[in-house]
């Protein structure tokens, strides 16, 4: 009995998925076009979902609009223009390149260039700051130290 209750409790979260937005048009090809475009359009109510995924009433309305306009013979670009004219670039998951979105598009590249530049500068500086090679005397002392034959020098004790 307890196990049954546990199973029921665990399967509860899946119950919410039962109400997936059902395709409406009879024409599967058209429906696929609608859904494909809808995946690229942002729902304004639940902003991290596309209008294909969202069940918000507005998303349903907008999907219906997309379908209606396809039926009226409009192509993808025309439908996108229709929605952008009403809701702005915000509806696009792939925003156009313009003055306000410049930083968005170029930001990652700028960061990469800046990071690479900084790294290059650091590496160059490190090479310049490398200590000069050992003199013959220092080499001899180092070899003696490694052999274990050298007496500890004055400096090493201090």
């Amino acid at each position: 009995m307890r196990r049954l209750a546990l199973v029921a409790a665990l399967s509860l979260p899946f119950a919410g998925h039962a109400g997936e937005a059902a395709p409406v048009a009879d024409d599967p090809a058209l429906e696929e076009r609608v859904m494909r475009l809808s995946h690229d359009l942002r729902c304004l109510v639940c902003q991290n979902q596309s209008i294909a995924e969202s069940n918000a009433p507005l998303a349903v309305d907008l999907r219906n609009q997309v379908r209606e306009q396809f039926l009226a013979g409009k192509d993808e670009a025309a439908v996108v223009d229709y929605l952008v004219a009403r809701y702005g670039d915000f509806v696009l998951y792939l925003p156009p390149f313009n003055a306000t979105t410049m930083l968005l598009w170029l930001g990652p590249a700028l960061l990469l260039v800046a990071g690479a530049g900084w790294l290059g500068w650091r590496l160059r500086r490190r090479v310049r700051e490398a200590p000069p090679p050992l003199s013959a005397e220092e080499h001899a002392r180092a070899a003696a130290l490694l052999d274990g034959t050298a007496k500890p020098s004055q400096e090493s004790r201090s």
Partner: protein, 198 residues
């Protein structure tokens, strides 16, 4: 380079500054591309006068407000007293856009409802709501049964309010309920400015 250890602190402050600014932005406020554009046309039945219609062109020559509302909209209840109060001595007419009165209410099953019944139901519900919530601040309310007008105006959440000038151009959009503060500090100055311009 003595102060090198301060570099992470500066980076932190810079990030904190950006993030703090980001906290103040409201992601729900999507700027409308319709500002500066002519108000989209429509002609639909009025809410109160059953045999009359209303269209934006009926208000040509006047500055007016278009307020999107519905009886199922919770925020509208907070906004409504402000509007009723404002309408008493408003310098401009407020036109209501009753948005998806029947279809927008998730509690109602509207499948197979014919348009005439839907319109009658919408009128009955909306009027009753106005009576129950302190009166009708609207000169006229337009009935947008299927939300098509809402889409044309880029409405994505009720309530929203548009300020439209004498030439029928949208000059400002207020998203969310109007508060006494937003009325006093934003809408009233904008209305006054538009009226002076005429």
């Amino acid at each position: 380079m003595k102060a090198k250890f301060l570099v992470p602190l500066f980076i932190f402050l810079l990030l904190a500054g950006f993030l703090g600014y980001g906290l103040k932005l409201n992601p729900r406020e999507v700027p409308s591309p319709l500002i500066g554009k002519p108000a989209p046309a429509f002609r639909v039945p009025q809410l109160q006068a059953e045999d009359k219609t209303i269209a934006p062109e009926d208000l040509k020559g006047r500055v007016w407000l278009l307020n999107v509302w519905a009886s199922w909209c919770i925020s509208c209840r907070y906004e409504h007293p402000v509007l009723v109060d404002f309408a008493r001595n408003s310098p401009v007419p407020i036109i209501g856009l009753n948005y998806k009165e029947v279809r927008g209410d998730g509690a109602l099953d509207v499948k197979g409802l014919d348009p005439a019944t839907e319109l009658a139901t919408a009128r009955q519900r909306a009027r009753q709501w106005l009576v129950e919530h302190g009166g009708d601040p609207y000169m006229v309310s337009a009935v947008d049964l299927d939300g098509r007008i809402g889409i044309d105006y880029g409405v994505y959440g009720v309530p929203e309010t548009f300020l439209i000038d004498q030439q029928g151009v949208i000059r400002y959009k207020h998203i969310g309920p109007i508060t006494p503060e937003s009325l006093r500090d934003v809408l009233m100055p904008k209305i006054a400015e538009l009226q002076r311009a005429s």
